[in-house]
Amino acid sequence: MEETKGTTVETKGIDQTVYEKIQEIKTSTNRPYYAKMKDIGKMFVRDRIKYLVDEDSFEVEDGLFARCKEEDFLPGDAVVTLVAKINGKPVAIIANDMTIKAGTWGKKTIEKIIRMQELAEKRKIPLIYMIDSAGSRLNEQFETFTDRRHAGKIFYNTARMSGVIPQIALVFGPSPAGSAYLPALCDFVVMVNKNASVYLGSPRMAAMATGEKVSMEEMGGARMHNQVSGLGDMLVETETEALDAAKKYLGYFPQNWMKTPELIDSKPPIGGKKIEELVPENQRIPMNMYPFIENIVDENSFFEFKKLYAKEMITGFCRIGGRSVGIVANQSKVKGGVIFPESAEKAAHFISLCDAYNIPLLFLVDLPGFMVGSKVEKEAIIRRGARMLSTVANATVPRIALIVRKAYGAGYVVMSGASMQPDACIALPQAQPAIMGPEAAVNAMYYNKIQSIEDPAERQKFIQEQREKYNDDINVWSPASEFYIDDVVPGDRLRKDLIQRFELYSQNRDILEGKAHKKTLVRRG
């Protein structure tokens, strides 16, 4: 375009008018809101895309000229929709442009979004939403709300494509009211601290409707959604971190539900303490699961999912011997690793996600069971726990349960214990699978007898004897000897064993899938 400077209207070719129009649509200059955005660390929409996609990527963009006529000029109608390459593979991108009408959804915005969704579904390629929008454009509501191809169709498509193509939401700014459902229907939601906000009713609307006084941050801030509501799966401080996260996340995934993730070169784990030293024998003492995970996964490959939510349950992607694997692990350092309604739901979300995209699962089991008490019963621990159980039972990806230490009660079952028919249920020598721990079991079996012994010393002696007897049963050699569990693996052989088993259980999976292929909905709640 520079080379044509100074040319007169008379000599300008028709192609040139197209380039000028493109320039006018794509530029961030003369956009008053852009200066304000920069001050709070926000990038221009096209700079975000440029940062994310491969340097030599192709770009196929449709709808660039939507609303380009002078009397109706709104560049791109406040959204950029294109396909470009990330990690060498095509990915569809739908990105709000905050500099035009505050990124609101107008009559062509919606049509552009729907068209790009349809293209992504047809081509079976992942879809990234870059969200930064004030919601519906109210003065165009008649042309955007009621028809079959109006705003609701966007959510319909997102919901229907769940489990078909990976869908990621990067929330850079507001996503209010109806548009709040868009991230809620995606598989993976990244939110930028302080700038992202997702809510059905704004603080102003809440004040009008109910009188509640609440700040934007409390109502729908990124931190709240990551720690409390569970709508956010990752909290980042900057936009580039969010874009890096999307790229890294996609690296663990296939392009769609019919493919398997790429096998890459294996890297040895980070090293450090031996597994034997990381696993305390005393089951009462909490054990930090993070160094244990680092000990078995390829170096720097662990990518945590929902890190700030229900921390007693760790979920994340990794590579083991170059293979993409999803880890579901109990963290006994937080709340004893007990399963709460939130932890069950977090696990169910993650398991459905791995199952949908053919990512094998590894369960690391160290828990005393589900939480008890009236509080969690009211919070529907049975119903929400059952959802986790159902998700595990219906998962068709290769599944290995490793009993690290204790594995009591229904906790053992939902963590893909042997009765959940995993490809393998193996144990470390420190493992203790049982319906309950020795204290609770002895108390339950001999309650009357214990009460009837009057001498306190005698009573204690009896309890101790019974506990030791019970301990014999739940010591790892009893279930191993009965072949209830498939193998007992010494810590220093564990990684090698996992690599071999995952390779084995991945054999002919695609042929089996041909017969028993089913779509898995990714459900976050």
Binding site: R284, I285, P286, V338, P368, M371
Partner: protein, 69 residues
């Protein structure tokens, strides 16, 4: 600043006393719940002003165990 219990359980051990300086992330109380030791840690640094529970007490999720200044 208050340190809250994050789950229901019995207070097994109190590991600080009034006047102690505690740092963010330090365990101040250990609960016994679900046959596990559950450490409760301070979310901010401060000086222990008051211990609001005794060893052996039942605490619920969200109860104050220690006040910091």
């Amino acid at each position: 600043m208050e340190v809250l219990s994050n789950m229901a359980g019995n207070v097994w051990k109190i590991t600080v006393k009034p006047g102690d300086q505690v740092t963010e992330g330090q365990d101040v109380v250990i609960l016994e719940s679900m046959k596990m030791e559950i450490p409760i840690s301070a979310e901010v640094s401060g000086i222990v002003d008051e211990i609001t529970v005794n060893e052996g007490d039942f605490v619920n999720d969200g109860d104050v165990v220690i006040k910091l200044k």
